[in-house]
């Protein structure tokens, strides 16, 4: 009851203040727009706005950032589905099935599912955040250290071979290529240079955003251009039909599973929405009776990814507010907003600034709900972009992707990486390899290597140390069993 009263108080404070309402809706729309433009993400918007928050009240400043976070994570789904350009890394798994759905004339269903599931995942996550921030935060950092996070990544990778490749072996080879790309740059333990070929820019590693843009957007343009030249190009069929409620209810297990996964990934410091989306998608594949349907336009793929990444948003606020631990770049910027107002996130915020906390909680709840309405209206209009003929659309997408790749770090090498990835992706796709697997290997590989190194240091370089940590051991065993089952299946099918 006290929680509800606090929520009500936060809601009244939020919507009784005209400036608060303007900032709220500005954040909702700004987050969606910046989230939808690849490279120019919600982080860009947040970085631009950061200095201006000094002139806002703490409530308005923090609320603005939390609203941008919720809607920005959703925004990138639209371009992922319509053009195979994930607006942000956390939308990459959405493109795995979302774009094939567009090609199959089901763009409306895919976008509709993204809208509804983003809103649902985010709203439920916000509710859990309101109910149990402090105990969840303390449990998460106590129970989950580097060994557990590494085991989680291993568990996720174990199923990834099923995503998008023609055979099990090509799936694994794709993932291994991703893992190989992930080791370019300084190693996470001793800062040793690896695969830099004497180029200082490669010391920073291959960034996954230009890689994603290359493997998805550029490869797709090349494939469609080839079809155009061969005369086999088919424009995507336009459809604005949203999925029915019954369809979503039919996927209730996937939704609940993704909320749990997304929420869980969100509360781990330094992990966040990207891993959430990939893990949500992977688990959908793992539990599916027909794994081969994924990557070809399965609604469950979109639902799982978009539910999970938005479920991570509320969860990411938990370690930030309860412990002062930002889970990612945007929540780290929120620390800056707090500090501009002589405040620090952490346990004292609940004691000293309870009003602020509840305004933020209420804003996040309504921001996620507003995805449903604003997203619905936005979708009905933006989907018409598919009417643009390919010869005009392709250069626009290439320009957008180039700007996006360069904008990440302002480095020309990122644009080169994007086009190289695009060319490699073009040939890999023709030979049955999975670009999704490569991206998955790249993103999970970097987190996995870092946490593996930390885990081994913590366990004094003894493998048996994992056995003494039940959660890590359980996840590793589950991963090994999944892998063994896949290998057995691959041989069994061959015979």
């Amino acid at each position: 009851m006290e929680t509800f009263n606090n929520f009500l108080g936060g809601t009244i404070t939020l919507f009784s203040d005209p400036l608060g309402i303007v900032i709220f809706f500005g954040g909702v729309i700004g987050g969606m727009l910046f989230g939808a433009i690849p490279g120019v993400s919600m982080l860009t918007l947040a970085a631009i706005l950061l200095p201006f928050t000094a002139h806002l009240s703490p409530e308005h400043g923090i609320m603005l950032f939390s609203v941008i976070y919720c809607t920005g994570v959703y925004g990138g789904a639209i371009t992922a589905i319509l053009f195979n350009i994930p607006g942000a890394p956390e939308n990459a798994p959405t493109a795995f099935d979302g774009y094939p759905m567009t090609k199959n004339g089901q763009a409306g269903r895919a976008v509709g599912a993204a809208v509804m599931c983003s809103a649902l995942g985010g709203t439920i996550s916000a509710v859990i955040m309101m109910i149990a921030t402090a105990p969840i935060a303390n449990w998460a950092i106590s129970a989950f250290g580097p060994p557990e996070i590494f085991a989680l990544v291993f568990f996720g990778l174990a199923v990834a071979s099923s995503v998008g490749a023609k055979t099990f072996w090509k799936g694994w080879l794709s993932i291994l290529i991703g893992l190989l790309i992930a080791v370019v740059g300084l190693d996470p333990v001793g800062g040793i240079k690896r695969w830099d070929f004497g180029m200082p820019y490669l010391l920073a590693g291959i960034h996954f955003i230009p890689t994603i843009l290359g493997f998805f957007a550029v490869t797709e343009i090349f494939v469609q251009a080839e079809n155009k030249v061969r005369g086999s190009y088919q424009a995507p069929k336009l459809s604005v039909d949203f999925p029915s409620l019954a369809e979503l209810v039919a996927h209730k297990v996937a939704v609940v599973r993704s909320i749990v996964i997304g929420f869980f990934c969100g509360i781990l410091p330094g992990i966040g929405a990207t891993l959430a989306a990939f893990m949500g998608y992977n688990e959908a594949v793992r539990w599916s009776k027909d794994k081969s349907e994924f990557g070809k336009g399965k609604l469950e793929g979109v639902i799982s990814s978009e539910t999970a990444n938005n479920a991570a948003t509320g969860a990411a606020m938990i370690p930030l507010l309860a412990l002062g631990l930002p889970g990612g770049a945007l929540t780290a910027m929120m620390v800056g907003v707090f500090q501009m107002h002589d405040m620090e996130p952490g346990p004292l915020v609940f004691l000293n600034s309870a009003d602020l906390v509840w305004v933020v909680f209420a804003a996040m709840f309504f921001a996620n709900l507003s995805i449903l309405f604003v997203g619905y209206m936005e979708t009905k209009t933006i989907i018409n972009l598919l009417r643009i003929p390919f010869q005009f659309l392709a250069p626009m997408i290439l320009c957008l992707a180039t700007v996006g790749a360069y904008a990440v770090r302002g480095l020309a090498i990122d644009v080169i990486v994007m086009f190289v990835a695009g060319a490699i992706g073009f040939f890999l796709r023709r030979s049955g390899y999975s670009v999704a697997g490569i991206v998955l290997g790249l993103i999970l590989g970097r987190i996995g290597e870092q946490t593996f190194a930390q885990a081994m240091q913590m366990l004094h370089f003894e493998w048996s140390g994992f056995a003494g940590r039940p959660i890590a051991a359980g996840l590793l065993i589950a991963g090994v069993l999944t892998l063994a089952g896949s290998i057995y299946g691959a041989f069994f099918k061959k015979q």
């Binding site: 106590s142 129970a143 250290g145 580097p146 996470p188 996130p345 004292l348 913590m458």
Partner: protein
């Protein structure tokens, strides 16, 4: 003016005065500089660019933002921050060195640039290959434990407990070999004879989370970065890596108190311009950045980050001396550690 404490030391970076924040406010180091200076030949005609070799959310990103705003406040000149993270600052430095030496691009960098040059002299020397405009943050490190910790409660009991673990005790630290943090831990373990496993964390949040969640036994960090945990009473410092503890941490043993006889390395952040930039433009930039240090907004920021516990300000000559001495000290240390100094 009330002078609180002098920190005397044979180490170069320790030749600093400890002044309280309000004193720094009242008589700022650059008050003698003119309030306004006309840019040479209408310079700057457009916004400046500040290359920051780290992300916007970390310590460098924050100090870059605070300094850029302070410069803009008193000169009216905008500064666009261009973050180029990666490679422990190498990417940003390389990008900066490739920009025209026209005085329109400045660089933010930390002491990592000095230690990188100490290890490999082909890397730019910030004191000679660049012109330091101002060093605006100098701070020290501490070792933290959880406040609720009951296995040990202070430095002596911590050392005793670590020794009893036979190398199984852990401390969260940054990952890069040869970094200030790693070198300082080497000093401490050599001096105390304790063996402790350092866990490599690149980012702050997982590092702090590891201590808060009990995944590690201790944490190596600078006080400004964990101020929220100190204010909330979650962490407590058990060793201050200065010869003498500043008043804000008077009850925390210093190196001298702990019987550790080595010169501490400090973390410092500053701003640079190309050495070949036109001299009159460099002069204007020196004035703009040094004067900005005293802007109330910048002083407020430094105070919030515990950057006023020891004197954070160095002008160009002071910065060059600080950097040159630091490079010399790192070279000595690296040779002692058996690292290959090129």
């Amino acid at each position: 003016m009330k002078l609180k404490k002098y920190l005397a030391s044979s180490g170069m970076v320790m030749a600093t005065m400890a002044l309280s924040a309000n004193i720094a406010f009242a008589a700022c180091a650059t008050d003698s500089l003119p309030a306004s200076v006309e840019g040479p030949g209408g310079y700057p005609e457009r916004a400046l660019t500040m290359i920051v070799p780290y992300g916007p959310a970390g310590g460098s990103g924050q100090v870059a933002q605070a300094m850029a705003e302070a410069v803009s406040e008193h000169t009216g000149v905008s500064i666009n921050r261009d973050h180029k993270p990666g490679g422990s600052g190498t990417v940003g430095m390389t990008a900066f060195m490739a920009t025209p030496a026209d005085g329109y691009t400045v660089l933010e960098h930390i002491d990592d640039a000095s230690s990188a040059h100490a290890l490999d002299s082909s890397r730019p020397n910030p004191a000679e290959d660049l012109i330091p405009l101002v060093t605006s943050q100098i701070t020290f490190s501490q070792i933290y434990i959880r406040t609720e910790e009951d296995r040990f409660t202070d430095w002596p009991t911590f050392v005793e407990w670590v020794k009893a673990q036979g190398g199984k005790a852990t401390i969260a630290n940054v990952s890069k070999e040869g970094s200030m943090e790693r070198v300082m831990m080497r000093f401490i373990t050599d001096a105390t004879g304790m063996e402790i496993q350092q866990i490599s964390f690149d980012k702050g949040a997982p590092r702090y989370g590891a201590l808060a969640g009990g995944q590690v036994d201790a944490l190596f960090e600078q006080p400004g970065d964990v101020r929220s945990f100190l204010d909330a009473g979650t962490f407590k410092p058990i060793l201050t890596m200065l010869k003498e503890s500043p008043e804000a941490f008077a009850d925390v043993p210093s190196l001298t108190d702990a019987g550790l006889d080595f010169d501490p390395l400090l973390r410092f952040r500053g701003f640079y311009v190309h050495k070949d930039a036109p001299a009159d433009r460099v002069e204007w930039l020196q004035w703009a950045f040094q004067k900005a240090y005293c802007e109330p907004s910048y002083q407020k920021y430094n105070e919030s980050k515990y950057m006023t516990l020891i004197e954070s300000y160095r002008d160009t000559a002071g910065s060059q001396e600080l950097i040159t001495n630091t490079i010399g000290q790192y070279r000595e240390v690296y040779k002692q550690m058996g690292l290959e100094v090129k």
